[in-house]
Symmetry: C2
Subunit: 502 residues, 2 copies
Amino acid sequence: MTALTGQTLRANLKEQALLEEAMALAGWDQLTGMPQASGDFRAELQSYLASRYLAVATGEAAQELNKYFGQPTHLAELSTDDQALFKRFQSDYVRDASIPKAEYEAFQRLASQGQDAWTAARQADDYQLYAPVLAKLIQAKRQFIRYWRKDEATPYDVLLNQFEPGLTVDKLDRIFDQLKTGIADIRQQLKDDGVEPDASFLQRTVAVDKQRAYVWEAIQRLGYDAQKGRLDDTIHPFMQDLNRNDARITTRWSPNDYQMAILGVYHEAGHGLFAQNIDSKWDYTPFNKGIAMSIHESQSLFNEVMIGRSKDFWTSEFPRLQAAWPAALGDIELEQFYRGWMKTAPTLIRTEADPLTYPLHIIIRYEIEKALFNDDLPVADLEKLWNDKYEAYLGVRPDSALTGILQDIHWASGDFGYFPSYALGHLYAAQFLQAMEKELPVKDLLQAGNLAPLIAWRREHVWQYGASKTPAEILQTATGESLQPSYWLKLQTERYADVYQL
Amino acid sequence: MTALTGQTLRANLKEQALLEEAMALAGWDQLTGMPQASGDFRAELQSYLASRYLAVATGEAAQELNKYFGQPTHLAELSTDDQALFKRFQSDYVRDASIPKAEYEAFQRLASQGQDAWTAARQADDYQLYAPVLAKLIQAKRQFIRYWRKDEATPYDVLLNQFEPGLTVDKLDRIFDQLKTGIADIRQQLKDDGVEPDASFLQRTVAVDKQRAYVWEAIQRLGYDAQKGRLDDTIHPFMQDLNRNDARITTRWSPNDYQMAILGVYHEAGHGLFAQNIDSKWDYTPFNKGIAMSIHESQSLFNEVMIGRSKDFWTSEFPRLQAAWPAALGDIELEQFYRGWMKTAPTLIRTEADPLTYPLHIIIRYEIEKALFNDDLPVADLEKLWNDKYEAYLGVRPDSALTGILQDIHWASGDFGYFPSYALGHLYAAQFLQAMEKELPVKDLLQAGNLAPLIAWRREHVWQYGASKTPAEILQTATGESLQPSYWLKLQTERYADVYQL
């Protein structure tokens, strides 16, 4: 066996990263104005880049790296950083190489068909058009789980663990039970004793270019570096980082819903901040790109919910917003603005949910996924189960598949086990805020509009690490504790008690 | 030797084309809003993609293809189309593989340094900061010519032939002599007997969004397919085709120079039309992408000059322009508009030249390049020679390097022998128009604003072929003649006699 070095490993990771960067650019472009007729050509390009990527990540050179540094004596030849990178490389390699190539490719095709079927089903508002492909996707994923499974307690644990190392059904059941009860309690109290805010001023017209000008300035106050990003229009907002100096955000606009743009762009800028502030030593490595979704989401939600839904923040920010849009907000008082801004109401659509009800949307999806993979729930029964759960947990029942089970693309793309990360992001964000408050006068800083110390805290405790630590490690180091949903519940209880004048 | 097939060849060409598409997207993005801080990362990505491209185009598999189909008996196994593709593959292969890899990479680095030095020299307005790197680039290119040269009469012929198959110094000397004399005659006549038009209304303010709305509609009337393209802002306008369903154009704007946007966007849309209308059988082959620049330019110039400077066209188009911008053009008569639109005056900057004086800018560059490669002209003398020639041919002398020798980036990027194609594009466009007039009532069609037959003619005679025929072949087939500069001179003579009321 030829002697390999850290440089050999880094070169392989760099080639993977460069191919990922090309795919990321092509993907961003596809969603931000690529000519309509060009879809088939783009699919061909992405398919080529993906096959190159797989060849680099699992080909002969990768096999040799895996074999060589898989031996402890050789692993010890690497620097500490490179050892960590190898472990990540190895687990990705094992995940990708353990699926027979033909099955992997068949799954890719199925996922592509799934998205087409999902689109067709949405157009016809008919879940049954999509159910057969969904069933095949689930079948294929169950087979993958058999290849992947080691000592995980249940099949669904295998998927959870891929998105969030160490996460289990057992842990999530406990966390989500606590949330379900806690949220139900808050909602009951608001219903019984709360004073409903008036939020009608949120529908006042603000021209899109005025919205754009305000949010672009505002996110720079939140730390987003305009030299390392851009803001484009799209249908489903996202952040795409090509590298730490190019973390692009996107949004959609409505002249009569400026809250959507403000919170949406704060959110994506939070993802962008993470990407822009990863230590440069992780350039062209999986620690720069492969960040667990829960921890990434905790940073977008920190911007959107911890800051963007904070009364202290709006004490300093609302006068700026008023100055930017005097016609729409000149006659609104801060107190009135904040109460309307925070109004909570159940929705059918996850992406339109407010922070209080959002976790319930995730819990519904989690319970269904768990039933699919651990209890072999038949796919034909999904729609009814979905609707029943919405009625039970949120008190609203979809009267169409469009506003029900067809609203998310995740399953159609073959992504299962991904949803729980969204809820974890909420919980992490609240726990980070609580830890920050022990070290910094957060309330005063927000009221003064001095966000720099909050930005520095997150850079130091979260962003710089990229994916070099697991979410659990980052949380433990930054807050001194493992995940405690109580911080999130306490925050929401206090905020809504204030807003609803309990 | 293993038996290879047309499919093996096509697969290699397709991989080249897909890598080119990725590079094209990354290049377009870099010039249309990529975050400023991301330059180094983008250079790294492009360098990786270029090295992959070279590996595919000249690597082991390419060597085998070249060896195998290089034998006439094997070549005969291919379809006619595939034989043509192999010949193109082979000539590209020989060109790229005949340069030692180390020298090729050194040249790439030098070209990158050249662009940096050019930028720095422009900032300081000092040619001498850039002259040393330019000298090295020329030295390296002279060495390449030694590798490439077969039976070409002079070293510079080697470069000309690469950009335009069959083009020689001998031919160009004759063509450019004819142009020099002809243009001088027209300009002298206009000076002696012409009535100078008033073009002051061209500086009237038209808001950029109004300019954008008009040109976007106008180019669709000229045949540009909006489903297969987009229009973005940039500094130096260009068209970038990723594939035939994605031919993007870019432009720059000034509220007080709408002529720049109109003619600029017509021009780029002409390039876009070519790309959008190549026969789909050439998808993922060099016949889709590697079109000679002269023939491509003939199509952009057909839009810009043959149509965009035609009085017949403006007969139908000017009322539309007036309706779009009543405040700026409501009080202008068609005749007055057209005379101002056509006003000619010498400029120092090539890209700002009008159609009459444009070829002189090219002739100056041609004469200098020829002297550099055939007479070993010292690089230190270039600036004085440049200025002397501008004074002699155009009657204007640059008083700074910025408006003189530092205006073009081509040489800094290592591109020599490229400029003549621009002038050829003008001549081809006029010859195509003349041939079209034999078959179609062009004057009536333009006056009626019925451009469809002109579009169909160009699709049939030019666009569909992509690069599967040489410019000379396309010209001969479409017009029945080899290149005749007299058509261009006749057209300009007539147009300017009309405008200047001779």
